[in-house]
């Protein structure tokens, strides 16, 4: 929904935020340990990964057929399937459901797609109050903050700040900063809502095509509450959530939980095939499944970009990303952060508006290595950069961008002409002789200030390898050229 702007400013601010840094370190180190311990409980971890990747690739390649199969099966189970072209279309339909039933409030389970389409705002604008019920989401909603992390959206927020916000909103009667007491206060606060709930909204982790079943994964029990207490349940899914069979879903669950939190299975997993059955006294009497496209069918047209639709939102790529681990989720400016955001947001919001997301990447490949869906993030990021260049967009604003383009231009010329290369080396050597000391350069007038803020660079060698080789060829048995300039 919101487009990522101000990446640099927010990243810079977050780099100086001690609280964020502490939790980022904990997240990246802690989750890495949990993940590897979790995955190692597979008899053959590589086989398990290969299998989940094959399932996701297959599911995405067969998406139209599977979606059709799912919609038919869900309909036969008694669910009402609603299709939505875009965010607006989805919100209108869900708001319509709430209004027709005259509900005053809805309770929601954590769901990225409803954040993407801006459902909370749409509901509130039409007078329906929205309660996020996942503890982390409740905190971010109360404080008006974007998610910091996929699994722990508020994990970085100091508890005294949470206490202040809860106190101001009447969730607690006296200020508090104890994480457990704050959590219990939210429990008490929301229990009354669950008990009186008429309509609930949840996302969907997987939609099983062959059986028309919706799968939700959670640990707190809020989604179970929402799927049990109200008469009306609305499940919102983007089109890529579909998987072929129950067996596929079960395997993906094993991988999803282990790869995300290291659990063999999350606390609660619910499989809903239609509304409550005959004679059931709780559970939804009516179940609506809203299937949202919101640009995905356009993404699907590109066989390379299509792979982003394989993502199962386990969050492993965030925890392993060296960039995310330093700056957290805020700079990514939306629902999707880390490598997941870097490959998805450019396709949702446009390459030209998201340059920093795919430029702020070292191409280290750690995300690809842990991805259970088989997404090649570095490949996609390279492709986005290429498309940006081809579109002639300004790669980086201002003088720095111009300097970089000029540098690449010169390098391009030199790379294809050895003579130009040698000439460039000679002029660079002269510059180094002026700027350098002891074989190293400590600053540069050529726009590389970023490098030199904390790093030196070796000066151009007195003798390049090429020159050494020539000399050696001339007088056999020559020794090395030595390090710096003489």
């Amino acid at each position: 929904m919101s487009s990522p702007s101000g990446f640099r400013e927010i990243a810079s601010r977050e780099l100086g935020n001690e609280y964020s840094r502490i939790f980022l370190k904990l997240l990246s180190e802690g989750f890495a340990i949990l993940r590897s311990a979790g995955m190692s409980t597979f008899e053959d971890p590589q086989e398990a990964l290969d299998r989940s990747r094959a399932i996701r690739r297959d599911a995405v390649e067969r998406m139209p057929e599977l979606l059709e199969e799912f919609a038919r099966a869900a309909g036969e189970n008694g669910a009402v399937v609603l299709w939505a072209r875009d965010a607006r279309h989805a919100c209108d339909q869900i708001v319509g459901l709430a209004r027709e039933r005259g509900v005053r409030f809805v309770a929601k389970g954590k769901s990225m797609i409803t954040e993407e389409i801006g459902l909370n705002r749409a509901l509130e604008e039409s007078g329906v109050e929205v309660f996020e019920t996942d503890l982390g989401e409740f905190v971010t909603q109360t404080m008006g903050l974007p998610p910091f992390h996929l699994v722990g959206p508020a994990i970085n927020i100091p508890p005294d700040k949470i206490g202040e916000a809860f106190f101001a909103k009447g969730v607690i009667r006296e200020p508090d900063s104890d994480p457990v007491r704050l959590g219990k206060a939210v429990r008490a606060h929301l229990r009354e809502k669950f008990r009186a709930l008429d309509m609930g909204v949840v996302g969907v982790n997987m939609a099983i095509a062959s059986t028309g079943t919706l799968v939700n994964v959670e640990n707190e029990g809020n989604i179970r509450m929402i799927k049990s207490s109200p008469r009306t349940l609305v499940a919102v899914m983007s089109i890529e959530k579909v998987v072929p069979t129950l067996e596929d879903a079960l395997h993906l669950l094993r991988v999803l939980c282990r790869n995300c939190t290291g659990q063999k299975m999350s606390g609660y997993v619910t499989f809903d095939s239609g509304p409550a059955g005959r004679g059931e006294k709780d559970g939804p009497e009516e179940l609506f499944v809203v299937i949202v496209d919101n640009k995905r069918s356009a993404i699907y047209q590109d066989p390379l970009a299509r792979q982003v639709l394989r993502c199962i939102r386990c969050g492993a790529c965030l925890n392993t990303c060296p960039v995310y681990a330093r700056i957290g989720g805020y700079p990514y400016g939306g629902v999707y952060s880390g490598p997941m955001g870097a490959v998805l947001s450019p396709l949702l919001h446009g390459i030209e508006r998201t340059s920093d997301l795919f430029r702020a990447c070292t191409l280290c490949g750690a995300c690809r290595q842990v991805c259970p869906a088989g997404i090649d993030h570095p490949e996609l990021i390279r492709v986005f950069r290429q498309r940006e260049v081809e579109a002639g967009a300004q790669a980086a604003p201002g003088a720095q961008g111009a300097a970089e383009r000029a540098a690449l231009g010169v390098l391009g010329l030199c790379a294809s002409h050895p003579a130009a290369w040698m000439a460039a080396v000679r002029s660079a050597r002269l510059a180094c002789a002026v700027l350098g000391e002891g074989g190293y350069v400590r600053k540069s007038p050529f726009g590389l200030s970023g490098w030199f803020s904390s790093r030196d660079l070796p000066a151009v060698a007195a003798r390049t390898f090429r020159e050494w080789w020539k000399g050696r060829d001339a007088a056999k048995g020559g020794r090395g050229p030595g390090g710096g300039p003489t």
Partner: protein, 233 residues
């Protein structure tokens, strides 16, 4: 109107160039643990569930089940319990147990409507329910809800006692679903996996139990040998 949107989206998707069938991996995933005899599965289930903070008991027959429950409700000071008496719980003489222990038991089969179920589930100190299966690979309970077994009981009450017949202890989720589908001739409504009590770590990564669901989960594996005639099938 809405059917149009669906057709439009599917039409767009179908128009995309595609690589064709992609499935390269066939067959069952490598099993997530030792194929167990019963003793092995009991051990594995107990280990896995315990690691998630679940207390696992074993009881042979209704009498022992009553004793286990009595000890637990006394230890936790439980005074009001909502109970679903179907499935494996039927081994327990609920009325007699209530009289003996003095626990106020609400039999969920007497709850007339959604309001009554809510009232009972949200005000009870504990819920007693059957589970259809126990899965050893992760210490998971599998429950299928129906007209006898209400969804809210095991999520709204602060403590949950789940009784599962030892014959229904299986190694994998796949096995649980296969048997569930055979037993129920397909499934409608909801099937739920429960692995440990409700928990969260969302504030400062401080973990605690009982966020929205029960803080306490006790599983009683019930030996049902007494229900079978000796030597019979």
């Amino acid at each position: 109107m809405n059917g149009d949107a669906g057709r439009e989206i599917l039409e767009l998707l179908r128009r995309a160039p595609r690589a064709g069938p992609h499935r390269t991996i066939q067959g069952r995933p490598a099993s997530s643990g030792v194929e167990g005899d019963r003793a092995g599965m009991v051990l594995r289930f107990t280990e896995e569930a315990s690691s998630q903070g679940v207390t696992v008991h074993r009881a042979s027959g209704g009498q022992e089940l009553a004793q286990v429950l009595t000890a637990s409700v006394r230890a936790q000071g439980i005074r009001r319990m909502v109970a679903c008496a179907s499935g494996a719980v039927s081994a327990l003489d609920l009325g007699r147990w209530a009289v003996e222990t003095g626990v106020e038991v609400v039999d969920s089969s007497r709850l007339g409507d959604r309001g009554a179920v809510r009232e009972a589930a949200f005000t009870a100190d504990a819920a007693l329910t059957p589970a259809d299966f126990a899965v050893a690979e992760s210490g998971t309970l599998v429950m299928a809800f129906d007209s006898d077994h209400q969804r809210l009981l095991s999520v709204a009450a602060p403590a949950h006692f789940a009784v599962v017949a030892i014959d229904d202890l299986v190694m994998s989720y796949e096995e649980a679903f296969e048997r569930l589908l055979r037993r129920r001739k397909g499934f409608a409504g909801q099937v739920c996996f429960i692995t440990g009590p409700s928990s969260t770590s969302d504030i400062q990564a401080v973990q605690f139990k009982g966020m929205h669901g029960p803080a306490r989960l006790e599983v009683i594996l019930l030996d049902t040998c007494e229900r079978k005639p000796a030597g019979g099938l």
